[in-house]
Amino acid sequence: AQSVTQPDIHITVSEGASLELRCNYSYGATPYLFWYVQSPGQGLQLLLKYFSGDTLVQGIKGFEAEFKRSQSSFNLRKPSVHWSDAAEYFCAVGHLTGGGNKLTFGTGTQLKVEL
């Protein structure tokens, strides 16, 4: 069965510092991979996704992620964090079933930004 591990429950970085959020997945075939962000009290917003092709994926808000098949990882990065990036971040792996694409989510990483 597919699974997603986000090993860091909480991360604190200073504004302007670089950020890397870790994500490891387990899936038998070529995965569809996603990063979502959730601001307090809000739904989830898609940051970026990987389906195929270039393993370095650019997303919104200056985020990027790199798919590394050999490490079963899809880590999220940002070169310079802004205070507004404080939120919870979820990695997910998608798999086709029936007529739809089911997502399995990680448990999330809470990002705190110190000013």
Binding site: I9, Y32, F34, Y36, G41, Q42, G43, L44, Q45, L46, K49, F51, F90, G94, L96, T97, G98, G99, G100, N101, K102, L103, T104, F105, G106, T107, G108
Partner: protein, 111 residues
């Protein structure tokens, strides 16, 4: 832009009550999903639907049912609410199997 709306942002119910959570999407999406979100557990899939009147169980369907009578609307039903169903409920929709678009969530408290 895709818009997914949920009928309530906050809901307080009593144990044993029947609870309806409604989700509406405006982009003619085929697939709709209900998740619950709990601290430290991430999002877990309750039910999903890939067509009108079609439904499939997700990972945690116990205590829940769903209804999809129209393409744009997907309802989650708690037949007899219990305190362990206190949670954040998120609805999502997708067209053909790619990106899921999420609603703002309903925070349900069962007393």
């Amino acid at each position: 832009d895709v818009k997914v709306t949920q009928s309530s942002r906050y809901l307080v119910k009593r144990t044993g009550e029947k609870v309806f959570l409604e989700c509406v999407q405006d982009m003619d999406h085929e697939n709709m999903f209900w998740y619950r979100q709990d601290p430290g557990l991430g999002l877990r899939l309750i039910y999903f639907s890939y067509d009108v009147k079609m439904k499939e169980k997700g990972d945690i369907p116990e205590g829940y049912s769903v209804s999809r009578e129209k393409k744009e609307r997907f309802s989650l039903i708690l037949e007899s609410a219990s305190t362990n169903q206190t949670s954040m409920y998120l609805c999502a929709s997708t067209l053909g199997g790619e990106t899921q678009y999420f609603g703002p969530g309903t925070r349900l408290l069962v007393l």
